[in-house]
């Protein structure tokens, strides 16, 4: 007689944790998301060992695409050592055994929260973004049924009015991260809470970008060589964060996205947000090869 207790279990989990049916659903939805750039495709988003809202969308996309030969990099706000990145990396390593790296250029899959690495990504890499709020129209409309209709009709007039009112009230558009952008001239997306700095990196890139929103159960994509235009007015053009005259305190780099840190004495310090890039620039400057990647 079959006794379940006596069966030796070699592995605690399926490869990449998810069962194959769940992976297949994410795979089917991801292909549709790529075929309709910027369109939010609903998916089941079952429970995971990480709470919804902590990167489960990106995590499920990564789990569905990852294979044993992939090299994984996970970052949280540009940092490989952020608590969210460390936990997601640990879970993926435990359930897949894949090699991980801090070096952006070595990774085949980069899962990220709130940043796109400074180093230009290649065609053989995939960037997976964790998305808290996939709906760019949530600024102006709370009902998801209604926003779905607005996307269907490509009716983004209320978003334009919102941006216009912003300018009237504050002199400029006050949206920092999550800057609404039009993909392939058709769908408005929330590019996830990446700073404005990173939005132009989505435009006509070599890389495939996959967006997963676990709590909100949506997947969307920006394929390579696809136009991504931040909404802007002829007389008030889109601009990225201005770090003119500032350099990273640690590596001395200019031309990277900087975190602002208050020093407790009324002053401000600036350091790179992309920790690997900062390590690499610093190592190059000091002539050491230890990039912190090991």
């Amino acid at each position: 007689m079959l006794n379940l207790r006596t069966i030796e279990r070699k592995h605690g989990y399926n490869f990449a944790f998810l069962d194959e049916n769940t992976k297949r659903e994410v795979r089917r939805k991801t292909l549709k998301a790529v075929a309709i750039p910027g369109h939010q495709v609903p998916f089941a988003s079952p429970e995971l060992p990480i709470a919804r809202g902590w990167g489960t969308g990106g995590l499920q996309v990564t789990m569905a695409i990852i294979g044993p030969d992939d090299v994984l990099k996970v970052i949280d706000q540009g940092c490989d050592g952020g608590v969210n990145a460390v936990n997601i990396r640990k879970l993926l390593v435990k359930t897949t055994g894949v090699r991980t790296t801090f070096a952006t250029g070595e990774a085949t899959i980069v899962q990220t929260r709130h940043r796109i690495p400074e180093e230009k990504l290649r065609a053989d890499q995939i960037l997976v973004l964790q998305v808290p709020i996939p709906e760019p129209l949530r600024f102006v409309e709370a009902s998801m049924a209604k926003t779905r209709e607005m996307h269907a009709e490509m009716d983004y007039s209320r978003m334009w009015v919102f941006l216009y009112e912003n300018i009237v009230k504050w002199g400029e558009i006050t949206i920092g991260a999550r800057y609404p952008s039009l993909v392939n001239g058709r769908y408005l997306i929330d590019p996830s809470p990446i700073p404005r700095w990173d939005v132009p990196k989505l435009h006509m890139a070599d890389t495939l970008f996959l967006f997963g929103a676990g709590r909100e159960k949506r997947i969307y994509a920006v394929p390579p060589h696809t136009s991504v235009e931040p909404l802007q007015f002829d007389d008030v053009p889109f601009r990225v964060e201005d770090f003119a005259g500032r350099a990273c305190l640690r590596c001395g780099a200019t031309g990277t996205f900087l975190n602002e840190i208050f020093d407790g004495r009324g002053g401000k310090l600036y350091v790179c947000s992309d920790s690997y890039n900062c390590d690499a620039v610093k190592a190059k400057r000091e002539g050491t090869t230890d990039g912190g990647g090991q």
Partner: protein
């Protein structure tokens, strides 16, 4: 009649490998992607590679149709994936023998404006795909995923089938997404977002 269950197809790793190549293909329409060899033995006429694509994406939650209808192929896919056979107008996946004229492709699901992702996915079996210029159909792609233009030569795809697929995609974002797989394991994707020009080359 007994139908072969493909125990040698690894549902975890072969699926993942095939899927990544499909993802690469659909993210870069016109790119000719090589599929891995598969140790499966589909019934006569059904290609190993089209079967592999079906094994990768189909399961009990999905439905499929075969054009032109073939009972042995249908039984083979049902047994190996658990997917339900459906009428071409209802199926999420359509397996098309590219050479044969399948007029029913015109009723394929195109989704609606609220849910364009409900448009069907088509696996079209063709004889050969080549990025170099050759005989047969010369397809030129432009649009998302394509750096400028990309061209491929396809043999074994009935022109009427191609015209029908393209006419399904006239009203973007409604439409169908197509994977063309040849008998040597070369794959090309033609999603609805792609603008296609074609000519017959003799």
């Amino acid at each position: 009649m007994s139908v072969l269950f493909e125990a040698a197809f690894n549902r975890v790793f072969d699926s993942q490998n095939l899927y990544r190549r499909m993802l690469d293909a659909i993210a870069r329409p016109g790119k000719v992607v090589a599929l891995p060899c598969l140790d499966i033995c589909p019934p006569s006429g059904l290609s190993v590679y089209a079967s592999g694509l079906a094994f990768t994406l189909l399961d009990g939650d999905t439905s499929f149709a075969i054009l032109p209808a073939s009972e042995p192929w249908q039984d083979y896919l049902t047994v190996n994936t658990g997917a339900r056979p459906a009428a071409p107008a209802d199926a999420e996946f359509i397996l098309l023998a590219g050479r044969e004229y399948g007029p029913q492709i015109t009723v394929a699901r195109r989704g609606d404006l609220l849910a364009p992702e409900r448009g069907a996915t088509i696996f079209a079996m063709v004889d050969a795909i080549d990025s170099a210029a050759g005989g047969g159909l010369r397809l030129t792609f432009a649009g998302p995923g394509v750096d400028g233009r990309a061209a491929v030569s396809v043999t074994g795809l009935n022109v009427a089938n191609l015209e029908n697929i393209l006419s399904l995609n006239r009203e973007y974002p409604l439409g169908v997404d197509c994977f063309l797989a040849d008998r040597q394991g070369r794959l090309v994707a033609m999603p609805r977002s792609t603008a296609v020009q074609w000519e017959v080359v003799s």
